[in-house]
Amino acid sequence: MAASDQSAERPQYDLRDPDVRLMMQVRDDDAAAFEELVLRYQNRLLAVLEHLVGGREQAEDLTQDVFLRVYRSRKTYVPTAKFSTWLFTIANNVALNARRNLSRRREVHLDSNDSGSHPGQGLDQMIQVSSGQIPARQLDKAEMRDIVRMAVQSLSERQRMAVLLNKFEDMSYADIATVMQMNPQAIKSLLSRARLNLRDVIEPYLETGQRPKSQPVPGKE
């Protein structure tokens, strides 16, 4: 469809979204506009990608990959959505490609009887030793942060992405659906199951300080 045909029907993102206007300046090879976009979005991308892939260094590499893709596609950029939706669609694709290239997946287990070496296991032992039967209300912030992080890592990759976009970016179901190339009803179901899975992991610590009876199964959607 020609741009002139689209302009009469689509919302005027270039008028309403200041970041779209910036990106159109980048399209015209405005280096300062590109740097401004980097400054505006680097922290947001890092936050989502760090919790998505579970590592800061990889998140930084992926964030720079995202910006590189943005720059390379500047000449063909057409504002058909909010800039953030377009940007995180690229981020989702970059993360998906990175995961495909991984030779080994990390699995987070909360069961201390598990003999495998997992990032969460030592933490679980630490929690058991340090808190034991102490109610979860007395857990300090660092422990709580680690429990929440483990809970998020225990989600499937799709659940994790949907949760992070919903929580960190305050994205609507429709926008998340665009980013993840699903329909809004599927996102509604995905987020519901994700929140239930998070509840199963976090709630025991919040209420009683006890480890959950059933272990979360990564990848279960």
């Binding site: 720059y71 998020v152 509604k188 987020l191 509840r199 709630e203 919040l206």
Partner: protein, 173 residues
């Protein structure tokens, strides 16, 4: 989200109720659906408790750290992009002469072909100005002698008397 979706009753699977509660917390229900949820919450203590638990867990995600980028991150990102862009440009330029040569050959071939075709077409359509000269060549070759004779009738008279018949026979191919 359409208003056609109804609020699950207590006997229905908890997953459906959870879906509506989560969507309600996220502000994703239309006014009619939201009203249904609120009516359910008003009469169902279990639903109220479920909503509270979901909200509590969701609020706990605020504990997730969001470490800002380092001071040099933006600068290094722009540098990497600029360097990559330069490499992309260098790659494009390195391939450009070959492409240009090919384009020049294509252009030259097209021009040559059009020239040949044009020559043939013009040649076939336009009259040949030399044709008249070819037809009158015998006269042109003896033009000096013909100028010496000022009267054509006089020449015809000489021919009729056959005074130069033997020379005329020898002159014929």
């Amino acid at each position: 989200m359409t208003s056609d979706a109804r609020m699950p009753e207590a006997s229905e699977p908890a997953a459906e109720l959870a879906e509506e509660l989560v969507a309600y917390l996220d502000g994703e229900l239309d006014s009619a659906q939201a009203q249904q949820v609120e009516n359910r919450l008003a009469r169902d203590a279990v639903a109220r408790r479920d909503l509270q638990r979901l909200e509590q867990v969701w609020d706990a995600l605020e504990q997730l750290p969001r470490t800002p980028a380092g001071e040099d991150f933006a600068h290094s990102t722009v540098e990497i992009v600029a360097q990559t862009a330069s490499e992309d440009l260098a790659t494009t330029m390195a391939g450009l002469p070959k492409q240009r040569r090919r384009r020049w050959w294509y252009k030259a071939a097209a021009i040559g072909a059009s020239l040949v075709v044009g020559f043939i077409v013009v040649r076939s359509l336009a009259p040949d100005p030399n044709q008249a000269l070819l037809e009158n060549l015998p006269v042109v070759e003896s033009l000096d002698e013909y100028r010496a004779v000022q009267d054509v009738d006089f020449l015809r008279g000489l021919e009729n008397r056959k005074l130069f018949a033997e020379e005329a026979t020898h002159g014929q191919p």
